[in-house]
């Protein structure tokens, strides 16, 4: 059994799935922090209410943020070519994300350490902005990945990226940015509806209901853009060797409208991904309306799974197409680490990921319950 599991092609497919799992894990877990942070000025009016919002994520944001760091590390280890091309290519966008992810934890931690109104107001602004910006950037980056990114390799495999920050800001990619933002805001609203004091939960519920509907519509428009060829499409012309060496310059690829839909024709079961994306948002909208807190949170999380999954299965086996020279695109079969590294990493993941899920669940269980305004003053340690 291990022979099959550890064959190069299975390892590559598994690491493609795990790449998705990490991105989805990050979007679900860190998503509710970012969503709650972005919603801060809308759902909380008084200082105490703001503190409630922050304290709903207070004990868990550190763990959530590790999904992001682990995602970076896993891409580095399992998909080094993707790590090298995308992180250097999206250089300034990455810097903005980093700046936001640095500011946000510090803002959580430091905001309530002083009484000064100005101090707190400035940190509140920092929290809101750092919740809003990353989801938009991630969505825009996803959009550009669909469209294709202007990079090539030289014959030493040195990546070269032609195009700056503003090249990323085209209309279809921006739409993806808004899909991502809606998804994260809905996730944050669902979290606050579940965890925050009733005053806040009620405001989050109303906003969440509208956002979920908007998210479903935006995602559907994204689907139309894909069908219309505005969100890229590339087709592999040569037969891939899933057990071959990771050398991304020995295949042929052509741009092709509608290519991102071809996988659904071949395997209609994949339509489940976009269905979960839209269905999740619609059920979430219903959940907000019916005040079903747990159901809503499950629905927004499922929607995240569906939306990110849709991008993945639409592009398979592409990971990052090159618009400049499509033959240099990064594929599941030519951008991975060596078989040994994928195997070692898989063993580590099989040991530690279940443990992580187990102790994370235990921590959430201990922290179970709504954070109310009274809790702020009763508890010894709060933000």
């Amino acid at each position: 059994m291990f022979e099959l599991l550890f064959s190069y092609e299975v390892l590559r497919l598994l690491w493609w799935v795990l790449l998705g799992v990490l991105l989805i894990g990050f979007a679900i877990a860190d998503g509710f922090d970012m969503g709650a942070a972005a919603l801060l000025p809308l759902v909380a009016k008084t200082d105490d209410e703001k503190r409630v919002v922050i304290n709903t994520v207070g004990p868990v944001w550190e763990g959530n943020q590790v999904w992001f760091i682990l995602g970076g590390g896993a891409i580095f280890a399992a998909w080094p070519a993707l790590y090298a091309v995308s992180f250097s290519g999206f250089y300034l966008a990455m810097f903005l994300v980093l700046a936001m992810l640095i500011v946000r934890p510090v803002a959580f931690k430091y905001r309530s350490k002083r009484e000064s109104t100005v101090w707190r107001r400035n940190w509140d602004l920092a929290i809101t902005v750092s919740g809003l910006v990353p989801p938009v950037i991630f969505g825009v980056a996803m959009g550009n990945a669909l469209i294709g990114v202007p990079f090539t390799f030289d014959n030493d495999l040195r990546p070269d990226y032609q195009g700056g920050l503003f090249g990323l800001l085209n209309a279809p990619a921006l739409l993806c940015g808004f899909v991502s933002l809606a998804m994260i805001i809905a996730q944050g609203a669902a979290w606050l509806q579940l965890k925050a004091d009733h005053v806040i939960a009620e405001r989050a519920r109303v906003i969440g209901g509208h956002t979920a509907i908007a998210g479903a519509i935006l995602f559907a428009i994204g689907g139309l853009l894909v069908a219309g060829g505005l969100l890229g499409g590339y087709a592999l012309q040569t037969v891939p060797d899933y057990s071959g060496p990771s050398f991304p310059l020995s295949k042929e690829v052509l741009p092709s409208t509608n290519a991102w839909l071809s996988n659904y024709g071949r395997a209609p079961i994949l339509l489940l991904a976009p269905a979960l994306g839209i269905g999740g948002m619609l059920i979430a909208a219903l959940g907000f309306r019916l005040k079903r807190t747990v159901m809503t949170f499950m629905a927004t999380s499922t929607s995240i799974l569906g939306i990110i999954g849709t991008v993945g299965v639409s592009m398979f086996p592409f990971i990052l197409p090159s618009s400049l020279d499509p033959n240099h695109s990064l594929m599941v079969f030519d951008a991975s680490s060596s078989q040994a590294t994928l195997r070692n990493m898989l063993v580590a993941t099989m040991i530690f990921l279940p443990l992580i899920l187990l102790y994370t669940a235990w921590v959430y269980k201990i922290l179970f319950g709504r954070i109310t305004l009274d809790d702020l003053h009763a508890a010894e340690h709060t933000y």
Binding site: G73, F95, L157, S250, N344, E380
Partner: protein, 533 residues
């Protein structure tokens, strides 16, 4: 090849962000263990003062931890952003420890740190203690994996260049894990983190004792910190990382540069206590030598020679020449990937490929290099001798001072005597010393690694991304502003938390904060051992 100016700026940015990150890491390492030990005493004895100590030092730990986490994210992402060629070239080997760090260590640390702060009222004390230790354990595991990654940059074992994929790939993962350089670095760095934590607790406690505030907490903290400090300082010095310096050519070069040892000396080599290294004349002026010491420290033996810089340059020159054979073979294979003869030749000579790459700073095509270029490439393997020589001595001096401080503090506490005011003052003013030692220590390790980013494998000047000047200037400015701003806030919050002090325990005989200093001073001079619980 990227523009040299861009490489220098990327190096500057990496140095700034890494050294800044490392202002917080050692304190996190040390304080997490100290806090866990204090909480253990609380759970075992049930004495409230130990609970308050845990929470007080825990608050300071938390202020520091937030910035450690935040600035650590930059480290994980900067390789891809600024060092794209590096990331592709060695990601197969270097990425794995970073990813496993996330899986095994960082998740543990970051998940349980939430319980440490928010779980006091939600769990039994024993369960909370488990959470605290898991957090401390995660922190230390984290250091292990990062240093495995860093150790591989200094001694790239268990990997080889694969011409089919044009990158380094792992050949022996166990060799990467049990890399002797990584093991030595781990012990040395983690112990240095403990020293930092101990000095921090010692200095803040000394401050309270000098002012006569929070004496119940401060006395106990002083005892814990001085005992822990003696053990950690001894560990840093005895298990210093010089044990990793005999392993590779460039590690030997680094050692020779730290010692400003130009020629191979007869074993056991003398230690140059002080002198003025001269790169031009290739000698050390006014050298004061202590016989035998270097040979014993560097090789742990009396009869192993330590090679000097000039001899190591000759070795490097041979490797450049051998590397050219590999380079030629690889070029042939790149031109025709079915040329098996070229591939065979390459596989037989690939260990020296990196040395031929050094020629690319002088020639676009290394195969056109003449003898002069080859000599220059060999000389480019010598790092800046004066920088390493003086930084190393500064680090050793700092370590020695701290050991003396801990031994004295420990001696007084063992006698159950109040440490005298001069010692408390010295402890307070020692606060910056571990940070100085840490930063110059890293400087020696990483600046001493130059011109390599991966020793013998990849020169730094090839490793950077193709970015634009404005890209890098924007991020350097951005990081400097954000980090500078946070540094100011962090220090202010620390001072605020220290000024506020722990929760007052009047029923235990602890004085209230803000009640006259004279009263406090009086207590210091006549202090009896810890007030009754």
């Amino acid at each position: 090849m990227p523009d040299p100016l861009l490489v220098d700026l990327s190096r500057l940015q990496f140095a700034l962000t890494a050294m800044y990150h490392f202002l917080f890491v050692p304190l996190t390492l040390g304080l997490s263990i100290l806090v866990a030990m204090m909480e253990t005493v609380y759970v075992m004895t049930g004495k409230q003062v130990w609970r308050e100590m845990t929470k007080f030092w825990g608050t300071l730990f938390g202020i520091n931890f937030a910035l450690g986490v935040a600035t650590g994210i930059t480290m994980e992402f900067q390789f891809g952003m600024n060092w794209a060629f590096y990331s592709h070239y060695v990601g197969d080997v270097f990425g794995a420890p970073l990813a496993i760090e996330g899986l095994m260590a960082f998740f543990l640390e970051a998940t349980f740190v939430g319980l440490f702060f928010f779980g006091w009222d939600k769990m039994r004390p024993q369960t909370h203690l488990v959470a605290t230790w898991l957090m401390a354990l995660g922190t230390n595991f984290s250091a292990l994996w990062i240093l495995i990654a860093n150790g591989w940059m200094q001694n790239p074992v268990g990997a080889a260049f694969n011409p089919d994929t044009m990158r380094m790939e792992v050949t022996d993962f166990m060799a990467v894990l049990f890399n002797p350089v990584a093991q030595a670095k781990f012990v040395h760095t983690v112990s240095a983190g403990y020293v930092t934590g101990a000095v921090f607790v010692l200095a803040v406690s000394a401050y309270y004792l000098l002012r006569g505030q929070h004496t119940a907490l401060a006395q106990r903290s002083f005892v814990v910190a001085s005992a822990f400090g003696v053990a950690s300082a001894l560990s840093v010095i005895v298990l210093g990382d010089e044990s990793g310096y005999a392993v590779t050519d460039h590690q030997k070069m680094k050692l020779a540069a730290m010692e400003s040892m130009w020629h191979t000396e007869e074993a056991p080599a003398p230690f140059t206590a002080i002198g003025i290294p001269d790169m031009e004349a290739r000698k050390t002026h006014f050298a004061v030598e202590i016989p035998f010491v270097m040979g014993i420290i560097g090789t742990r033996s009396f009869d192993t020679e330590i090679p000097g810089i000039l001899e190591l340059v000759d070795t490097a020159e041979e490797r450049v020449r051998r590397g050219l054979v590999a380079y030629q073979a690889l070029e042939d294979f790149k031109a025709d990937r079915s040329n098996m003869e070229a591939k065979e030749l390459f596989l037989a000579t690939r260990d020296d490929l990196g040395y031929a790459q050094l020629l690319r700073q002088f020639r676009a095509d290394p195969l056109e290099a003449d003898d002069e270029d080859i000599r220059a490439a060999a000389w480019s393997t010598v790092p800046s001798v004066p920088s390493l020589f003086f930084s190393f001595r500064l680090m050793v001096l700092a370590g020695g001072l701290l050991l003396v401080l801990f031994v004295l503090s420990f001696w007084y506490t063992m006698q159950e005597r109040m440490p005298p005011r001069w010692l408390l003052t010295a402890a307070l003013w020692s606060l910056p010393i571990p940070w100085i030692a840490m930063e110059v220590g890293w400087f020696v390790a990483e600046y001493g690694r130059q011109p390599w980013v991966i020793e013998g494998v990849l020169p730094t000047f090839l490793a950077a991304s193709n970015l634009t000047l404005s890209d890098i200037l924007i991020t350097i400015t951005g990081f400097t502003l954000v980090y500078g701003f946070f540094a100011v806030i962090e220090v202010r919050l620390m001072l605020l938390a220290i000024a506020k002090g722990p929760k007052v325990l009047d029923h235990l005989g602890e004085i209230l904060p803000g009640i006259g200093q004279e009263h406090g001073k009086d207590r210091v001079t006549t202090a009896s051992p810890a007030p009754a619980e």
